[in-house]
């Protein structure tokens, strides 16, 4: 009924009057477009500290947004912005970004650190960050090809206990030094 009425109004040319009253709720694209001003068109970030969202898993995006909203995950602007959306909005955004092609930008990275990071990854992280961090398992995000500076900020949040870890993750990460964590960040940033 709503649609028929709206079409009739459009045909009659009363656009200005009708548009507000009969607009559909925001689509996933409309919601996700808002993110692109910081995270890049379709979530493909031009860096260096802003994470790419394109190709990220829906689960990871929903998890991140919920963490930002509750304050469990440390944030600057995201803690405030997340409060402007519902769980259903998070799901819609997640669906949109999951469908986008992941783009790994070229980053100038230290080769020795990458090699060190790869070994540490294989020993400590590979059981959850599968396929060199390119695939998800449970709710672990895709970390492969992510911007280095962003990964380093996350590592800092973990090592300073600002960001909580579940037990199994803490068990693996706690014994690692700051240099080790930095090397792992280099490794993930290098994966194409």
């Amino acid at each position: 009924m709503k649609i028929i009425w709206s079409r009739w109004v459009l045909a009659a040319g009363f656009l200005t009057m009708s548009a507000t009253s009969f607009a559909l709720p925001p689509s996933p694209e409309m919601l996700a477009n808002a993110c692109a001003g910081c995270h890049g068109t379709n979530g493909a970030s031009a860096g260096p500290s802003m994470p790419s969202l394109s190709g990220q898993s829906k689960v990871a995006i929903v998890e991140a947004m919920k963490g930002f909203k509750s304050g469990e995950r440390p944030a600057t602007v995201m803690g405030r912005l997340a409060k402007g959306y519902s769980d259903a909005d998070y799901e819609a955004m997640g669906e949109f970004f999951e469908k986008q092609k992941p783009i790994a930008y070229k980053q100038a990275l230290n080769k020795a650190k990458i090699a060190k990071g790869q070994k540490l990854h294989e020993k400590n992280c590979a059981r959850c960050h599968i396929e060199d961090g390119k695939e998800i398992k449970d709710n672990s995000p895709i970390v492969a090809g992510q911007w280095l500076k962003y990964l380093q900020i996350q590592m800092d949040d973990y090592s300073s206990d600002k960001r909580k870890m579940f037990d199994r993750k803490a068990e693996k990460m706690k014994p690692l030094s700051k240099d080790d964590l930095d090397a792992i960040a280099y490794y993930y940033a290098s994966v194409k």
Binding site: I3, S6, R7, L10, G13, L15, T16, A19, T20, F22, A23, L24, P25, P26, S27, E29, M30, L31, N33, A34, C35, A36, G37, C38, H39, G40, T41, S45, A46, G47, P48, S49, M50, T76, V77, R80, L81, K83, G84, Y85, K149, I153
Partner: protein, 427 residues
């Protein structure tokens, strides 16, 4: 169409060539320099709003032709230009974009020209070489100044001596040069107009950048801020904290001091017609209104300054088929910021495409995030998510907030913000 005889003949001359070259009948396209073969959106202005509107229309429906008219070959960002004034950025190069990649990637037709008139009834815009017709027009002209409200202000001559630096480029560099030339112990005066104006926290970020430069290079100098508003317009507590922490010896902030007069010869501004204040460098930011073309076309509302729009489609409530976005529009609770313009452009683009395809429009989901630097490293931000309720754009409860404190991490994220938003506009 309001074309007088002389104009008509001129346009006929210009259009005839183009029409003949394209092998089209001359009569029906006489004045038209780019015959509209299918469906066309014309975008006026290639800034934070216009570039994004053009790009997202093409992304949403590549069968719609998009023509973007912009007078400059390059765009220089106002956001971050305060960092040039403070010397954090050495020049404007990282804030300058061109349109080549954007146009090539998305098939946007660029016309580098100035729009002299819009004919809402005939649905054409006039540029120097003729007219361009549209099915829908998106106007994103930014701001112009209400110079006439400052006695003694000459629109051409005054800014050469007393820069506003509220449009980035030459004006930004002039203010920087004046600060560099000023002796240690000099006085800088900056004035803030009554809100609403472009970029609510911008003047206060600028005060930080000027004060930082003075503190590090000319520590005996002072910065007097004459604010027409009753208090700091945006992020007030954070700016005051920053001033107290870093610039207490430099900044003298005075609220409710509306500047009504200027004398470029004596280098004074006058507050409320009585109190003269002298500066070695004066940065007078005049009150503002929508860009001249919007005013000329009668797109401004009863306040004569800003353009009322439908909060879902950004279609003018005055002229049909013309949409106004960015600083020029009255977008309810959304502030006049670069990020707001970006967000409004996307909402407008999605809904223009819907309207042109006879589909239902969708409600606005708007966003704003504005960073301001306190020093070369510390920054603060304000955020907001916006929606439509009862026909007005309102902030979603709890989404509007400012940083808990000055933060170096916010400074790091701010750098990535400018990189990403300018990349979005130029690719």
């Amino acid at each position: 169409m309001t074309i007088n005889r002389r104009n008509f003949l001129k346009l006929l001359g210009a259009g005839a060539g183009a029409g003949a070259a394209a092998g089209l009948p001359m009569i029906s396209h006489a004045a038209e320099i780019m015959p509209n073969k299918a469906r066309r959106v014309v975008v006026i202005g290639g800034g934070y709003g216009g570039t994004i509107a053009a790009k997202y229309i093409r992304m949403n429906d590549p069968t719609i032709e998009v023509v973007m008219i912009e007078r400059n070959k390059q765009f220089i960002s106002c956001p971050f230009s305060n960092l040039v004034i403070g010397g954090v950025l050495k020049d404007m190069s990282s804030l300058t974009i061109s349109y080549d990649k954007l146009a090539a990637n998305h098939g946007i037709k660029m016309v580098y020209d100035e729009v002299s008139a819009i004919d809402p009834a005939g649905k054409t815009v006039t540029v120097s070489t003729g007219s361009i017709s549209y099915d829908r027009l998106i106007v994103s002209p930014g701001i112009d100044f209400r110079f006439e409200e400052i006695e003694g202000y000459d629109a051409v001559e005054t800014p050469k001596v007393i820069p506003h630096a509220w449009k980035a480029g030459e004006q930004t560099l002039l203010l920087r040069k004046q600060l560099q030339a000023m002796p240690n112990g000099g006085t800088v005066v900056m004035t803030v107009p009554l809100a609403p104006y472009r970029c609510p926290p911008g003047p206060y970020e600028r005060s930080n950048m000027i004060a930082m430069y003075l503190k590090n290079n000319k520590p005996k100098s002072k910065l007097i801020i004459l604010d027409a508003n009753p208090d700091v317009t945006s992020k007030g507590a954070l700016f005051k904290k920053g001033w107290a922490k870093h610039y207490s010896e430099i900044i003298d902030y005075r609220s409710a001091k509306k500047v009504t007069q200027v004398n470029a010869k004596n280098m004074t501004v006058t507050v409320e017609g009585i109190e003269d204040i002298k500066g070695d460098v004066i940065n007078l930011i005049p009150p503002q209104r929508a860009g001249a073309i919007a005013v000329k076309t009668g797109l401004v509302g009863p306040d004569k300054n800003w353009c009322p729009v439908n909060p879902t489609t950004f279609e003018s409530t005055i002229h049909k088929d013309i949409h106004v976005i960015g600083d020029a529009s009255s977008a309810g609770a959304m502030p006049k910021s670069g990020y707001s313009a970006n967000s409004e452009a996307k909402v407008c683009a999605v809904n223009v495409v819907a309207l042109m395809n006879g589909r239902e429009t969708q409600e606005l989901s708007g966003i704003n995030t504005c960073y301001s630097y306190i020093t070369d490293k510390e920054a603060v931000s304000v955020t907001g998510i916006y929606k439509v309720a009862e026909g007005k754009i309102i902030a979603v409860p709890n989404s509007v907030g400012v940083s808990p404190d000055l933060s170096e991490l916010e400074g790091i994220y701010a750098e990535s913000w400018i990189k990403n938003i300018l990349t979005e506009m130029s690719t």
